[in-house]
């Protein structure tokens, strides 16, 4: 990355983090939603020890998936509403780099708190301690993928009427591989099996997403706005 692109990246990242930090209630909403979904899932299937043992990994991941779709609207929406997105498109920095900064900011603002909440919630779900490290690893590798893939679809639907309904419809099918590998890894860890294979697979999904998705999100913004 050249010095100028780096300054562009840093500028957008700093700005988004600052704006995000000013709206604490919006940051909290997906987290609250996350905990509510987990509570409802447990209420629906029952709190038997035997059921919970089996259920903890999928519940943690499904709730994270749903909560992250809720936060994705935020990636571009405000910038679209106040016109600063158009400015971004006209900037002399490569758009993909600026979009990557927005994605990084989204992950720091929404992904990281969700990861920490997930760790706290495991205590309520009787997840064995042996699986905690694996859960943390899958979330650490997986939540950036939420932000990366999500940014493309958020860019495609920015400013559309009914985008709140369209975005989850478009994005949830694309989360399938992440869900399968992550839940598989946590389940295997809870049973004391090796999990390196699954973690490599999630890591490769992350690596591919880092390479492709910022460029795709930039193309999506251009497609929608120019």
């Amino acid at each position: 990355m050249s010095a100028s692109a780096r300054s562009g990246f840093g500028g957008v990242l700093r700005r988004d983090l600052l704006l995000g930090a000013r709206q604490r209630s919006e940051l909290a909403n997906p987290i609250i939603f996350y905990v509510i979904v987990i509570a409802l899932l447990v209420l629906a299937v029952g709190a038997d020890a035997a059921v919970l043992d089996r259920l903890a990994p999928p519940v943690i991941w499904i709730a994270a998936l749903l909560a992250s779709t809720l936060s994705l609207d935020q990636v571009f929406h405000q910038d679209f509403a106040d016109g600063s997105l158009e400015q971004l498109l006209l900037s002399h920095h490569p758009l993909a780099v600026l979009v990557a900064a927005k994605i990084a900011a989204h992950w720091l603002l929404y992904g990281v708190p969700m990861m920490l909440t997930a760790l706290l919630v495991t205590g309520m779900l009787r997840l064995p301690d042996s699986a905690l490290a694996t859960l943390l690893a899958t979330l650490l590798l997986g939540t950036p993928v939420f932000s990366l893939i999500g940014a493309v679809l958020a860019a495609l639907t920015v400013g559309l009427r009914g985008s709140g309904l369209l975005l989850p419809l478009l994005i949830l099918p694309l989360y399938v591989p992440l869900l399968i590998f992550s839940v598989g890894a946590v389940e295997d860890a809870a049973r004391g099996l090796p999990v390196a294979g699954e973690l490599y697979l999630i890591a490769s999904v992350l690596a591919l997403s880092i390479c492709v998705m910022p460029i795709a999100a930039a193309a999506a913004l251009r497609a929608r706005l120019s």
Partner: protein
């Protein structure tokens, strides 16, 4: 390449081309369907395990192949439209989506009709059926995005990005579902992939597959020219064309 694209890529030219080609594809498809059905229902032998039930293969497998092929074609057309700004490619991609969704639906429905007598249940979370279901969601998402964006140019470009992102994901989704199904259920009964398929079944299967492809070609040409007519309704060629048609 560019002169070719711009000569045949003009909506007006493509419209005439489609008028000329679609009936030929349609006719060839109908002939092959007749031959394929004869082979599928009468000539091919019943299976030693599945009896006559195996005949579902001749509509199920071509539908499943087409569902994937149409997605690839749709994404490729979208990519051409995105990069070289060819209106015809945009219209082609948009016209392909409902057909792809129809093939996906057929693959699911016939798979389900096959599963009932073979597995004893309408639905099994078999890796292929599950992947096919997710493919249907991808098609429906593409179509929902197309209707949500009113401006055709914008909708085409946004759809192209979505289709290309989906195309990158399809192999990963399929692999993950395959991995998942081997993890969660032991070796399942798979009537979908006989290890070595006999010639007496392969020939009708291939004839049906080609008939499906020609059917797609014929219908997508008509759908594309409708999209173009709608897009260019204010252009001179569209007005003149309508006048010619009305005079006939």
């Amino acid at each position: 390449m560019f002169t070719f694209l711009h000569k045949y890529g003009s909506p007006q030219h493509f419209y005439r081309l489609s008028r000329g080609l679609a009936p030929w594809f349609g006719g060839a498809s109908a002939l092959l369907f007749a031959a394929g059905l004869y082979g599928a229902l009468l000539l091919s032998p019943p299976d030693y395990q599945q009896g006559e039930g195996v005949r579902i293969i001749y509509v199920h497998v071509p539908s499943a192949w087409m569902s994937l092929m149409v997605y690839v074609i749709m994404a490729a057309a979208g990519g051409v439209g995105l990069i070289w700004k060819v209106k015809v490619a945009d219209a082609f991609a948009r016209a392909s989506a409902p057909l792809g969704a129809a093939f996906t639906f057929l693959a699911l429905a016939t798979g389900s009709l096959w599963g009932k007598p073979m597995w004893g249940t309408w639905w099994v979370w078999d890796a292929r059926l599950t992947s096919e279901l997710i493919l249907l969601f991808l098609y429906l998402g593409y179509m929902a995005l197309q209707t949500a964006i009113e401006d055709r140019r914008t909708a085409a470009r946004a759809g192209a990005v979505l289709a290309l992102v989906g195309l990158v994901n399809i192999p990963i989704i399929h692999f993950s579902v395959l991995w998942w199904s081997t993890l969660h259920q032991g070796p399942t009964l798979r009537p979908f992939a006989p290890p070595a398929i006999h010639m007496s079944m392969l020939v009708p299967l291939m004839v049906m597959a080609v008939a499906f492809m020609l059917y797609f070609a014929a219908v997508v040409l008509v759908r594309t020219r409708n999209e173009l007519l709608e897009l260019e309704r204010n252009s001179n060629w569209a007005r003149e064309l309508a006048a010619e048609e009305a005079a006939r």
